[in-house]
Symmetry: C2
Subunit: 264 residues, 2 copies
């Protein structure tokens, strides 16, 4: 991981260029005001299942773009290359993590369909603008993500649990965090669960399934949002022969402004 003075001020095009050149940083707090996305690329044979899974589970899987087979570009950032412009990728074979790499140009296939899925980092800009602290950003960590005991609605061969991202929010700011994220249904919307992590089957907040543990401040309440890593959990459960995803927290930084995903 490379250290940058103020990644919030790096433009999306600059961020993508840095990642293309090999910087492998989690993108929380990067390019403030610009939308980051989850990537999941599957062979055309599985694309209908993924698209339907996302349609049936819009809270964790809000689709912002779908590429044509083999096409590594996206309308979310003309000129970008989804094979090289993310800081870190995961390669999946038969539902098992085959490796993490910083470039998948050599692994790309002509039948791969790339799904760009909304990310909760989008509403973080709005939370921060309202003065709601983002503990993981302040602590220089990736956001904490957890597998839950909630099953997604299956689609064809795809099934799996809901994954959530967690933010520790001061108790007197939780209602505001709900209201603010609720204005952005295209990027997960309002929380799916507030407090009581054990009800989601999360035994220990200090041991996230993805990302980093994040420390609470006194008076904080854990707030859970549906997370775009959910399709990765479905890949692990449903075992397609091949897939490529982003590494959790290492997102694609698009040219879209967060404000474009505000409802109304």
């Amino acid at each position: 991981m490379t250290t940058f003075e103020d990644p919030a001020k790096v433009s999306p095009a600059e961020a993508r260029a840095l990642f293309r050149q090999g910087a492998a940083n989690p993108t929380a707090g990067w390019s403030a005001g610009f939308t980051q996305t989850n990537l999941i690329a599957v062979p055309r044979d599985w694309a209908y299942d993924v698209l339907l899974f996302c349609q049936r589970n819009p809270r964790p899987c809000p689709i912002l773009d779908v590429s044509d087979p083999g096409d590594p570009t996206t309308i979310l950032a003309p000129g970008a290359d989804l094979r090289s412009d993310l800081p870190q990728y995961r390669v999946w074979e038969n539902g098992t993590l085959a490796g993490e790499v910083s470039d998948v140009s050599g692994l790309w296939r002509t039948d791969l369909v790339a799904f760009s899925i909304g990310c909760s980092f989008t509403f973080e800009t709005a939370l921060a603008a309202a003065g709601i602290p983002l503990r993981h950003v302040d602590q220089g960590r990736n956001v904490a993500m957890y597998l839950t005991n909630r099953a997604c609605r299956p689609a064809g061969r795809l099934h799996g649990p809901l994954v959530v991202s967690m933010r520790q929010i001061p108790a007197d700011r939780v209602a505001e965090a709900v209201a603010i994220s609720g204005t952005m249904p295209a990027v997960h919307g309002s929380p799916v669960h507030i407090g009581a992590p054990e009800e989601l089957g999360i035994a220990d907040l200090a041991k996230p399934d993805f990302g980093d543990p994040v420390d609470a401040e006194p008076g904080d309440v854990p707030v859970f949002w549906a997370c775009g890593v959910t399709p990765q959990a479905a890949l692990m459960a449903s075992r397609p022969a091949f897939a490529i995803t982003h590494a959790p927290g290492y997102m694609f930084v698009s040219d879209k402004r967060d404000d474009e995903y505000r409802a109304g």
Copy 2:
């Protein structure tokens, strides 16, 4: 067409039973407060194209449910049968209208995937509640729908023009109609065009491409919303071997309440 005293008060289950028994009525104004949907059913081989077309064109094609192949049921109305419970269907062969029938049970196939798409009748309840007149309902007619000169974003083999529904709205209520429909992005949202029909390539409002002509009152302005008949226009342009749709204006009356599709 059978005449009913007050179709607004007929429950969704009663409406579906009447249509199942053969009543073939346009459903504008029926079962007030309950969501009506457009139907498009295509073979599994075309389902990915339709699903992606809807994802890429969410204003005209907001998906509320997708069935599994061959399954004629929907989560929008448990116990309903999509093969018989709409008042009128269209059967398509190679993009050409092969016929209109009131029941498609004998034509259903085990590979058909049924898409239920949001309908502008949903926000009509909210418009009426605000005292905004619905001319087509008052005149006992189907809503007027038009092909436009705007192309949808293509998806695979599917391409075609945007179809709009038109409502004549008093000039001093247009802003309110925009605001009210804008709270319901899952059912077409705010208008795509207000006034100036010629800019959409509509030469004569008195000659709609689907539905009935609707008379304006003095001071009315034509307001255009993206319409769920758009996928039918794509079928006509893209010519899959087989498809079944609702007849324009003869919708599926679901058990979902319109309020469920309000954002936020």
